[in-house]
């Protein structure tokens, strides 16, 4: 079943859960500390934008080795073809 659905796992994927912590509103639903006149509720949520970007970027960079990445300029590198690799290992 797992093979049939083609499921692949990397522990780095867990990083994608980190930005979800932003949904715990009681942590930041306060006015203080104020920064440049902006209540904590607002400026702290802006900080989560880079956190989300970093988490996704790390997963992108660390899971590259599993297969893919085709350099932008040269889409003909067969060795890096993830589909071909998968077929090679799965069958």
């Amino acid at each position: 079943m797992a093979d049939r659905s083609g499921f692949r796992w990397s522990p780095w994927n867990l990083l994608l859960l980190v930005p979800l912590l932003m949904l715990v509103t009681p942590w930041f639903n306060t006015k203080d500390p104020v920064l440049w006149g902006m209540p904590f509720f607002y400026w702290s949520q802006f900080l989560w934008v880079p956190v989300g970007v970093i988490c996704v970027a790390v997963v992108y960079a660390r899971t590259k080795d599993d297969g893919v990445p085709v350099p932008d300029a040269d889409p003909d590198v067969d060795d890096l073809d993830e589909g071909a690799r998968q077929r090679g290992s799965a069958q």
């Binding site: 440049w36 607002y42 989300g52 996704v56 067969d78 589909g83 998968q86």
Partner: protein, 553 residues
């Protein structure tokens, strides 16, 4: 009073994108013409990282978002800021599933999410349900783009009464319809460059220049706090607050999460995804798209700036009621010089055209692939499919115009709210199916029926006293009203929650329970046309179906 300077700047930029829209038919063309859905409806499936960034960004962050989010902040305060967490948690959530969907769609030549569901479950009924849900959820969304465009036109003084008052909007939309018909997805892809650059320019100027004008952020938040604390004339409760209250925290969380789960189920989002060249393009975009989230967060704060500036929403002469969606155009009108206000309006106006074009293409693709081809003309050639989709895109657009002309804009806003709730009901059949087929196809149908019915019922129960409505008054359900066959598990609670989230949970519970029963009864699960490796195939794999090839079925 017509604002001539603003109108001329707006007109010049509108003319520019019109020319681009027509030129786009030859842009990046393979010479094969547009007689295939891969070409007309997906731009040749070869957009690189930059084009995809502008296209998807221009698609997801719509004019309506730019107008409605600050309007919500203006009216209700902190709750409107949900747009920021929504677009931050969005990309980590969709990062992996979107890649799988791209790969499997590219291997099998799927053009719509419903195509995938049909291939995955061998069920044309389930595909039909997903397609219809997508079309119904998209239609009011297109109408809302018109609401955003019209808010700008009316602020510039084109605020006539009756049908004549809608004439400028109609003209703008006919032009859009014609070049989308001709150029397909390439038109919004090219125009998105202009749209996004203008939006960035305007917002950056606005968030740097305006706060200094009103004494800095502390004065602005002070003014907002004071105004929001005043009681609403109808209900006697405070209008809102600059922090979340005990009652709306859960609403904030579930609205942000529910909206994030829903966004990439909308057909227009997936159209942008499927038009990209490869997995790496999508991955880069998932890292780079949050730049727009930053913008959206800053823009939301302009709702408070409008409070500090004492902006008053314009009365829509067609309905006779003040329209809070005009609050941002009004703010720009009062604070910017005429020519820059014209640029700002063009940003919002063109910002309406890009998503409206993509949404109409997405709806047309669904119609063509999953209804016309499936039920009306099974032997349709790729050329006939493309022609059908072009015609459908016209019908969809004029349907949206008719909505705005003959129906209260408030109705479109309510419908779009419902749209988020109903599109979420396709999550098990589309998103979960990317990982497992354990949920049985008939269980998915059952979950959809129950989740949809229950969601609509809960929406019906929600009143909006401030707007004088007894039903369909918003998407925030007070837990007290939550009922399971007359049983109120949270009686007395004043805590609010997003209806879409509740309906999705119910949908999932039903889908799981029915699946257990059907697996036990050994009911046939249907054929799966996809295999494991399909979900990882990249742009250079030989598994991929050639672009503009004879389609599946």
């Amino acid at each position: 009073m017509i604002q001539w300077t603003e109108l001329i700047v707006f007109g010049a930029l509108f003319l520019l994108v019109t020319v681009l829209g027509f030129v786009a038919s030859r842009w990046q063309s393979s010479g094969a013409g547009l007689d295939h859905l891969d070409e007309w409806g997906l731009g040749g499936r070869k957009f690189g990282a930059w084009i995809t960034w502008f296209l998807v960004g221009g698609d997801l962050y719509t004019a309506y978002t730019f107008v409605a989010v600050p309007a919500l902040m203006f009216g209700a305060g902190a709750l409107g800021f949900y747009a920021l967490p929504y677009t931050v948690v969005l990309y980590p959530i969709v990062f992996l599933p979107v890649l799988r969907l791209w790969s499997v769609s590219r291997v099998h030549g799927y053009v719509t999410p419903a195509d995938f569901v049909r291939g995955r479950y061998g069920s044309s009924l389930l595909a039909f349900i997903v397609a219809v849900t997508g079309i119904v959820a998209t239609m009011p969304y297109i109408a809302l783009q018109l609401v955003g465009l019209e808010a700008v036109l009316r602020t510039m003084g084109l605020n006539g009464t009756g049908i004549a008052g809608h004439l400028p909007l109609l003209v703008a939309f006919v032009i859009l319809a014609v070049y989308t018909y001709q150029s397909g997805l390439r038109a919004p892809a090219l125009i998105a460059f202009v749209k996004d650059i203008l939006i960035y320019l305007v917002i950056l100027v606005a968030v740097i220049y305006l706060p200094t004008k009103f004494g800095g952020w502390s004065a602005i938040f002070g003014a907002a706090e004071q105004k929001l604390a005043q009681p609403n004339p109808t209900t006697g409760n405070p209008q809102g607050s600059i922090l979340l209250t005990g009652n709306n925290q859960l609403q904030y969380i579930t609205l942000a999460l529910g909206s994030a789960l829903a966004l990439f189920l909308y057909p227009h989002s997936l159209t942008g995804v499927l038009a990209s060249r490869g997995r790496d393009v999508l991955k880069k975009n998932m890292v780079a798209l949050p730049a727009y989230s930053l913008l959206l967060g800053l823009l939301a704060l302009l709702g408070f700036v409008a409070i500090a500036a004492g902006s008053k929403p314009i009365t829509n002469n067609a309905t006779g009621r003040p329209d809070t969606n005009t609050i941002i155009p009004v703010l720009f009108d009062g604070q910017f010089s005429d020519w820059f206000a014209g640029v700002a309006y063009a940003a919002i106006g063109i910002g309406a055209l890009v998503p409206a074009a993509i949404m109409s293409i997405a709806a047309a693709n669904l119609w063509t692939r999953n209804i016309y081809k499936e039920y009306l003309h099974r032997s349709a050639t790729p050329g006939q499919e493309a022609r059908q989709a072009k015609l459908a895109s016209l019908v969809v657009k004029f349907g949206a115009v008719a909505f705005v002309l003959f129906v209260d804009p408030q109705f479109s806003i309510d419908l779009q709210l419902i749209g988020g709730v109903i599109i979420l009901q396709t999550l098990p059949a589309v998103a979960i199916a990317l990982y497992t087929r354990w949920l049985h196809r008939w269980a998915l149908v059952a979950g959809w029926v129950v989740g949809m019915g229950y969601g609509l019922y809960l929406l019906y129960l929600i009143p909006n006293p401030a707007a004088g409505k007894a039903h369909f008054g918003g998407s925030a359900l007070t837990l007290d009203k939550l009922t399971v066959f007359g049983w109120h598990p949270f009686a007395g609670s004043t805590v609010q929650i997003y209806v879409g989230f509740v309906a999705l949970v119910v949908n999932l519970v039903i889908a799981v329970l029915v699946s257990v029963a059907l697996h036990a009864a050994k009911v046939a699960p249907g054929a799966d046309a996809t295999e494991g490796a399909d979900y990882h195939a990249d742009e250079d794999s030989d598994r991929l179906k050639p672009v503009a090839d004879t389609p599946v079925h």
